[in-house]
Every structure is written in structure tokens, then in C-alpha cells.
Amino acid sequence: MDFELSDEQKLIVETIRQFVQEEIVPLEVNLDPDASELEAEDRERLVAKTRAMGFYGLDIPEEFGGPGIDIVTRTLMAMEMAQHRAGLYAPCYGVFGGAGLAQLYEANDDQKERYLYPVLRGEKRGFFGLTEPSGGSDPARAIQTSAVRDGDDWILNGEKTFISGADRAQFGLIFARTDPEKGRKGITCFIVDTDAPGFRVRRVIHTLRSSHYATEIEMKDLRIPSANVLGEVGGGFAIATDRVSRQRIPYAAGCIGVAIKAQEMAIEWARMRKTFGDVLAVRQSIQWMIVDNEIDIRTSRALTLAAADKAHRGLPFRTDAAMAKLVATEASGRVVDRSMQIHGGYGMTKDLPLERWYRELRIRRIGEGPNEIQRLIIARDIIGGAFH
């Protein structure tokens, strides 16, 4: 069993680490502590650099112009890219490009022309509209947004909540119930233009994550042509859950990146901060916090890379991804909490990134499937049989 990185992976990791240290961290001195966007000229300059490095569009499939990075290397990169103040929810402020909505890669040719390719060209943005006020963990039951056939069109009525980016998007994927009798097989995915009559973003939802807000959207007699059904009628649940296991792996990796940085800060502080005549690093209580941090980081890292490796080799990895997400999100929260404690009063200030990471990591225990759901997935696999 070889846990060593390949020479290529080592080079990529070092390149990203250097990029973060030399290009991203210096810019954060002048940004608000809760900022999540760069000034336009800085962003353009850094996007040109990532393109020149061959790393722009990391998550775009190779057949659509992406760089063809395997998931293990992508996971290693995610750990590096998160190691700055805004790194958890805005790793490198997006200068490595996004992939857009992964579900669009399965769209038909007409839909790709109208939505996917404009996204890849940077002309359009989309949102993912699954969660409703009635629930998000159990969309098969919770979805109440209805879609009723009317000639060649569908009429949508309902609402979605905790939707990121709907206010800035030109379109979105909305999951609606087309057949109330069929459970998960009665859900269909629709591509909805945000300037369509009947669609509105009605409010902003402020959360712990003070750099980004979520939104609440409403569909009222919203008419959608059949040409905007993504996939098959009744096939929406499969679209919603496709790729969700894979996405949990870099999601976990981002948390680990932040934890690594917090631990580095804690060690540096413990080495220099003096109390009662000596540095904190000689105090057993501090040492044990740093040791517990290290254990949390290494176990999370090992689980996450193991999940990535299985995904890369084409083996079943759903349970491994669930475990990685569960462990990394909870462990990283503990690491940042201990690092704040070691920093004392300074750990609570906006002068340091710790308080932002503390708030943002709390959300990671809910996002991409709450950790209770991850436990259900793991239990189902270990114990066997379908859960209900």
C-alpha cells in the first residue's frame, strides 16, 4: 500500500501552495475579513495565470475542455486551495474556474447550446433548486413544488429555500413533482429561465456565512416548455442525486485545508506566546490540543484520500465518501475551535481568520447532506438492507 504522492502530484501540490501564498494571501490584507470576491483587475490577472498553468476549469470534464485532473489529485488541490481566509467557501476566490451545474453535462444538444456552453464561456450562471421549506434531506418526500402538464408546456407552482446564487443566475434547475403517486419517480427536473414570468427571488436569507447569502425563490404559474425538461419526466430524483457522492470528497478536502492552516497558526502561536515565564508550547494542556488537532487532521485526510482513490479506481465509494464528509466536517470544526482556544482573545477577533472558519465550518455539517444522513448511508451499508 503506497501512500506516497506521485512526482506529478507533488509538483501540483507545491505549485498550488505557492500560488496561494504568493498570489492570494497578500490580497487578503486589503479585503474585508468576510469578503468573498476579488477586485475585477486582480481576478482577471489571476484567471490568466491559472489558464496559463493549465488548471482553469478544474471540474469541467475533459471532453468539454477541462484539464482532466483525476479525483485524487483534485482532492489534494482542494486541500491546498482552501488554505486562506476565504478559502472554505471561496477557494482562491474562484480563479481556478467553476464547473457550473454538473447535471448539464447530461443535457441534450439543444439544452447544451442554450445553457451549458454559455456557462462554460462565462456568459451565464445557473442555480440548483432542490430544497424546499418542507425539507431538503429527503427530497423524494419533501418536494411539494408541482408541475402540471398544459399542452406542450408545464405549469410550475411552489417555492424553494436556501438556494445559492438564484438572484444572480440567468437560469436554474428546479425539481418539481410531476406525479404525486410515484414518490421519487414522480420528480422531474426543469431548466427555468429567471426572467420568465412567474419566477421571482423574493428574499435574501442571511446565515453564519456572512460573505454569501442564500435566497428564497417562488414559482407562481410559471410556464416551462417541454424542451426544458432535463432528462426524462420522472427522472429528476436520479439527476438530483447523481454525482452527490463524488462532490462530497472535495467538499471534505476543503475543510481539511482550513484545519491544516488553523493548526499551523496554533503551533506558531504556541511557540511564541508566553505565559507565566514560558511559551505556551511547553504547557501540557496546549500540547494535547495540538496533538488532538493533528490526529483529527490526519484521520480526516486519510479517509478523504481513500474515498478519492476508490472513486478514481471505479470502485463503489458512496460509503467512503459519506464517511469522509462526516469525519472531515466534524474534525475540522474541532481543530479550528482548539486553535481559537490556543490563541486566546485574539482567536475571537476579525484580525485572524479563525472566527470566520469557525462560523463557516459549522455550516459544513449541514451542507452536501447533513451528517445525520451521512450516518444513515454508512449504517445502511454496514448493517445491510434498505433504510426507511
Binding site: D32, P33, D34, A35, G165, A166, D167, R168, T194, R200, V201, R202, R203, V204, H206, T207, S210, S211, H212, Y213, T215, E216, K350
Partner: protein, 112 residues
Amino acid sequence: MSSIRLEKPWKPLNATEVDGLPGQLGVYQIADDHEEIVFIGFAGGHSQFGLRSELAQRLEAAEGANHLFRCEVTMQYLTRHQELLMIFLADHGRLPIENKEQPSSLGRLRLA
């Protein structure tokens, strides 16, 4: 539930009022003497004395104009600032005259 507007009573933008402001972070609106909003700003993590220092700077920039202000303490100052700009844009089709943000960089709300 609709977006939340900042609807506190206006106060005169003068030294007495500004000196009494908290040093906390938050958002504020500046209006002319017709209560027409001319600027929406925030006191963020880099502000020296929070709302007090931000409004002190606005008072100095006002150069004797009879401006009004109101403010709200919030740690979610960035997203609240964006929300207030989005609400103003939805109401008026433009941003306050002294805000330099590009409307295209803001999200769109459609209020009831």
C-alpha cells in the same frame, strides 16, 4: 416573507448624533433632507471605530449639507449591505446616486 427593509426613523447627520453611535459593525443609509436615500454603506472589519467612524467620514464628506442617516448593527454587514442595495434597485430601477457599485454585480430581487 418579503425582504427586510431598513425602516428606522431618520436622524440628522451631525456631530452630536455621530458621537453617540456605537463602534460596532453594521450598515447605514444616508438621505438628503427630502429623505431620499443617496448612499447605502457598511462598517466592516477594517473600519477603525465601526459605524461611528464610517458616519464621521460621511459627515465630513457632506460638507454642511443637511443629510440624514439611519443605521443597523449587524455582523452580517456584507450580505445585509448587498440586500439593501438590491431592495433599492428593485424599488427604483437604479442604485443610490452616490453608490459606485455596478448594478450588474448585484443580484435581483422581485419584491411583492
